[in-house]
C-alpha cells in the first residue's frame, strides 16, 4: 500500500468523541500515524505477521496488523472497537487496563513489536511517558516504536543506556495539535516530537 493511500484510509478513522484532559487524550494525526506505520513496516518489517501491542491505544489510529490494544479508558476502547468493525478488521483485540498497575513481567517478551504514542506527562501525570516506555520495553521482544517530546531526548537516551537498550531517532516530527480543549487559546500548536525506535541488544 502506498503511503498516501494509508494516510487517506487513516483519515476515516473516528477519533475521541469527548477527549479526557487528565488522560491527555489527543488523536495521532493520520499523517504522522501513516508515516510511522509505513517506516515500521517497510524499513524494519516489524508489523506484518507479527504480534503487536499498542500501548495507550486510544481510538486505534496507530493499530494495524495483528494487534492487541491496551488502554485505561473504556470510551476510547469502544470507539476503537467500532472503528475495527467499520473497517472490517478482525485481527485486533482489546484490553482495558492500567499500565501503571499491571505486572508487566507477566507480559514479558510476549509481543514482537510495541508501538505507541504515550501521554507526554503534561497533565499532573509527570513521568508517565517513562512509565509507558518501561512497560513497553518489558513487553516487546524485538522493538518498541514510540513518540516522545524532543526536549526529553537526552533524558530518554540516558535511561535507555541504563536499561541496556539501543535507541535510534528515526525522525523528528512537528506534531501539529489542533485546539481540542476549551483552555487552548491558539488554533493549533506545533510540538517537536521524536519518533524513536528502541531495540534490545
Amino acid at each position: 500500500m502506498k503511503l498516501k493511500e494509508l494516510e487517506s484510509c487513516l483519515q476515516q478513522v473516528d477519533a475521541f468523541e469527548e477527549p479526557k484532559i487528565l488522560l491527555e487524550q489527543y488523536p495521532t494525526s493520520p499523517h504522522i500515524a501513516a508515516c510511522m506505520l509505513y517506516t515500521i513496516h517497510n524499513t524494519f518489517d516489524d508489523i506484518e505477521g507479527k504480534l503487536v501491542a499498542d500501548l495507550g491505544c486510544g481510538c486505534g489510529v496507530l493499530s494495524i496488523g495483528l494487534c492487541v490494544g491496551l488502554d485505561i479508558d473504556r470510551d476510547a476502547l469502544d470507539i476503537f472497537r467500532r472503528n475495527a468493525e467499520d473497517f472490517e478488521i478482525s485481527n485486533v483485540d482489546l484490553i482495558q487496563c492500567d499500565l501503571c498497575a499491571i505486572e508487566t513481567q507477566n507480559y514479558a517478551n510476549k509481543f514482537d513489536t510495541v508501538i505507541m504514542n504515550p501521554p507526554f506527562g503534561t497533565k499532573h501525570n509527570q513521568g508517565m511517558d517513562m512509565k509507558f516506555l518501561r512497560a513497553a520495553l518489558t513487553m516487546a521482544k524485538t522493538a518498541v516504536y514510540s513518540l516522545h517530546k524532543t526536549s526529553t531526548r537526552e533524558h530518554i537516551q540516558k535511561k535507555a543506556h541504563d536499561w541496556g537498550v539501543k535507541m535510534e531517532v528515526l525522525a523528528e516530527l512537528r506534531y501539529d495539535l489542533p485546539a481540542s480543549y476549551k483552555f487552548h487559546k491558539k488554533k493549533s500548536v506545533d510540538i517537536q516530537v521524536d519518533f524513536l525506535r528502541f531495540s534490545k541488544a
Binding site: 482489546l94 487496563c97 492500567d98
Partner: protein
C-alpha cells in the same frame, strides 16, 4: 476477547500469588473470521501456556479435538495449525467475565473487551 489474549491475562489483585489462568464464564461467544497465517500461528505456539489454552477452549465449548499436549513437529502440520488458528484468533468472548482462580474476583467482559482495572483497595 480472543483466546490468544486470554492466554496472557493474569489477576494481579493484592495478595494473590498465582492469578492464572483466569476462568472464563461466557454469556456470549462469537466466531469471527481471521485470515490464516501458518507461520504466525506456528511462532505463537511456543509462547502459549498450552494447557491454559485447551482449558479455555473447553470452557467455551470450542475445544473440538485439540490435543491436551503438543506433539513434536507441529510446525509442519497445517491441519493442526488451522485448528489452533481457529481457537486462538477466531473464537471471541463478547460478554461474560474472567474469574481469578485464587481470589474469586471477577473481571467483566463487555462488548468484547475485558476490564482488568482494579479498585483502589485491591491494588
Amino acid at each position: 476477547m480472543k483466546l490468544l489474549t486470554h492466554n496472557m491475562l493474569t489477576s494481579h489483585v493484592k495478595g494473590v500469588v498465582k492469578g492464572y489462568p483466569l476462568l472464563i464464564k461466557a454469556t456470549e461467544v462469537k466466531m469471527n473470521e481471521v485470515e490464516f497465517n501458518p507461520q504466525f500461528v506456528s511462532r505463537m505456539i511456543p509462547k502459549l501456556e498450552w494447557s491454559a489454552l485447551v482449558q479455555a477452549a473447553e470452557e467455551l465449548g470450542h475445544r473440538e479435538d485439540l490435543p491436551g499436549e503438543l506433539m513434536a513437529e507441529y510446525e509442519k502440520d497445517e491441519e493442526f495449525l488451522k485448528k489452533v488458528h481457529r481457537v486462538l484468533l477466531e473464537v471471541e468472548v463478547i460478554e461474560g467475565c474472567l474469574q481469578c482462580p485464587e481470589s474469586g474476583r471477577e473481571f467483566p467482559i463487555t462488548r468484547g473487551i475485558p476490564n482488568m482495572l482494579l479498585n483502589e483497595d485491591e491494588v
